[in-house]
């Protein structure tokens, strides 16, 4: 098997203000042009893990390799041309137009005093086309619906043209239709050669698209592997700490909670 494009080797991380490690001995490989879902309940350490993969925080021990080279040997500028991030939500205090906001994704390719040029605007418009919201480019960001804003964040990350895209809970506050739009975009990016890594607490979103799963609970990886290997009733019951069952309907995996609420 080819080595992973991104590899985590026994990484451990503790926040400065905490006594307990947020992540313990995490290891996995991410393969090029695949979709990996980091699946786990709230507070499992998914966002912390994404921040480590981004290079924002350094692990206390263990290494993260990007193209077989330790991630801390890249400059911030080099990293930003390779890894993009779609945060869970972005509070934008000012009313940027959609196009202006998406253009911020060109920052990794601009010098410190440079302004985006016509070529950057073309790339930004392509990114808007890619997520299907070109018609919104003149609109102010706060006026858009939650689903549209999520697509704008995605377009900004696409405009960055990263080889690896990290997404933090990209579907958690979307309705079903918008969730599927987002997942379809991720599938198209995979087809274009982008490596996609997203965190989610929603096993069905993961089952719809992920090639690989990393299952997390309380800062540890319980298991990782292909959908077929690890997406089982027993494993998900362990991950979520509540009785669940995986059932197949028309070849699609659906997760059913078996625990009844108190009357």
């Amino acid at each position: 098997m080819t080595p992973g494009i991104l590899q985590a080797n026994a990484i451990t991380f503790t926040y400065a203000s905490a006594t307990q490690a947020a992540l313990k001995e995490i290891s996995f490989d991410i393969y090029p042009a695949s979709v990996t879902a980091i699946l786990g309940p709230n507070g499992a350490g998914k966002t912390t893990l994404l921040h480590l993969l981004l290079g924002l925080n350094r692990p206390a021990s263990g290494t993260i390799l990007l193209h077989s080279k330790p991630i801390n040997q890249y400059t911030r500028h080099e990293l930003s041309q390779q890894i993009g991030l779609v945060p869970q939500s972005e509070y934008v205090p000012f009313a940027y137009s959609v196009l202006e906001y998406v253009l911020l994704g060109r920052a990794p390719y601009l010098g410190p005093l440079e302004l985006p040029g016509t070529n950057d605007i073309r790339i930004a418009r392509d990114a808007l086309d890619e997520v299907g919201i070109r018609h919104l480019e003149e609109r102010a960001l706060p006026e858009l619906s939650g689903g549209e804003q999520q697509l704008v964040l995605l377009a900004r990350a696409l405009c960055q043209q990263p080889g690896i895209l990290l997404l933090d809970e990209p579907t958690s506050h979307l309705d079903l239709a918008n969730r599927n739009i987002t997942l379809n975009i991720l599938a198209r990016m995979r087809a274009n050669g982008t490596t996609v890594i997203f965190s989610t607490h929603d096993p069905e979103a993961a089952a719809l698209i992920a090639d690989h799963l990393v299952l997390m609970r309380a800062g540890q990886v319980l298991d990782s592997g292909s959908l077929e290997q690890v997406f089982t009733s027993e494993m998900l019951t362990r991950v979520y700490g509540t009785q669940v069952e995986v059932v197949q309907i028309d070849g699609m995996r659906v997760v059913k909670s078996m625990e009844r609420l108190e009357p």
Partner: protein
């Protein structure tokens, strides 16, 4: 597109120059309001007045408006809060305290008052920064805001003590008048005192105007776009505070320009700092000149500049907040 841009840039530069050019003729010599061109050409006292009093004062009022407006715009972006104004990190209250210290214990000579005000303005900022580093909870922005409020309150209490101690017939009026803000004593020397800092500070702000957008994003997003968040924020913050400190040290406390002008500029040019920062600078210069024109011509004596800017600034603010067609968050 490029043509349109050039035209806009030209307009932003020419508008303040035009207002400045007209303002040269406005004043109370030889009679209230307007000085005819013939006086400037033939009257020696008139020439003297224009070149030694009005011109340095007008240029200073333009730089004052530019600096406060630009610094306000930058701080609103850095602190991700459209209601922040440039003096809030202990700078304004520090300058006031410094000026009062000098009036009470050193001398009332303008240069010493300015030096003392600048020193304490920077001390106010340094203290805010130092305290913020030591606050044990909250993000960086919250910590700076909290320590800024506390440090400002301490300086303001200190200023209260100084006012209480001051001689009520000579020193107290001097302090009060300084605090109300004004440019009546400005000479070419004062202009030379603020010019280097203002030129360097405003150049940094202008050159980094697009990157300022990136600094208004969350830390994780800015990092993912390759921004050295801490370093770039510090540079822009230092530039803004420096220009604010020097203009406040010369002009006293002139409020509202740094709050209201960036809002108007955003209404005109949108939230993108690449366009609203230059508009802020241009409008700030115009606002500074016009307010100072009013301060020196409306009545026989001088109306303190801070009163005029607060009155007009707060008035515009209220209209913007309540008017249906204007959205304040822009």
């Amino acid at each position: 597109m490029t043509n349109h841009k050039t035209r806009t840039t030209l307009l932003l530069i020419l508008f303040p120059i035009l207002v400045l050019g007209i303002s040269i003729f406005i004043g109370r010599y030889p009679k209230p309001l307007f000085m005819p061109l013939s006086v400037l050409l033939n009257d020696e006292l008139g020439q003297n007045l224009v070149f030694n009093l009005r011109l340095p004062r007008l240029i200073t009022s333009a730089l004052l408006g530019m600096s406060l407006a630009a610094a306000g715009g930058v701080m609103q972006m850095l602190f991700r809060n459209p209601l922040v104004e440039p003096g809030f990190l202990g700078v304004t209250q520090g300058a006031g305290f410094g000026a009062a210290m000098s009036i009470l214990f050193l001398s009332t000579s303008p240069l010493l008052v300015e030096l003392s005000a600048t020193t304490f303005a920077i001390l106010g900022l340094g203290l805010s920064y130092f305290v913020a580093r030591r606050i044990r909870f909250g993000g960086w922005v919250l910590r700076l805001v909290l320590s800024g409020i506390a440090v400002s309150a301490i300086f303001s209490a200190g200023l209260g003590i100084l006012k209480y101690m001051a001689d009520p017939t000579s020193q107290l009026p001097e302090i009060v008048f300084w605090l109300l803000g004004g440019l009546w004593s400005v000479t070419w020397n004062d202009l030379l005192y603020i010019l280097p800092v203002v030129v360097i500070g405003l150049s940094i702000i202008y050159l980094m105007r697009w990157r300022l957008n990136l600094l208004s994003l969350s830390d994780e997003t800015a990092f993912s776009l390759g921004v050295s968040v801490g370093r770039e924020r510090t540079l822009l913050l230092a530039a803004s505070v420096a220009v604010t400190a020097v203009v406040v040290s010369v002009a006293g406390i002139v409020g509202w320009i740094g709050l209201i002008i960036p809002h108007i500029a955003r209404r005109i040019g949108g939230a993108n700092s690449a366009s609203f920062i230059p508009i802020s600078m241009s409008l700030g210069a115009v606002f500074g000149i016009i307010c100072d024109d009013l301060a020196r011509t409306l009545t026989l004596g001088e109306i303190p500049l801070g009163i005029i800017t607060s009155l007009i600034g707060a008035g515009i603010f209220l209209v913007m907040m309540t008017s249906r067609s204007m959205r304040i968050f822009r």
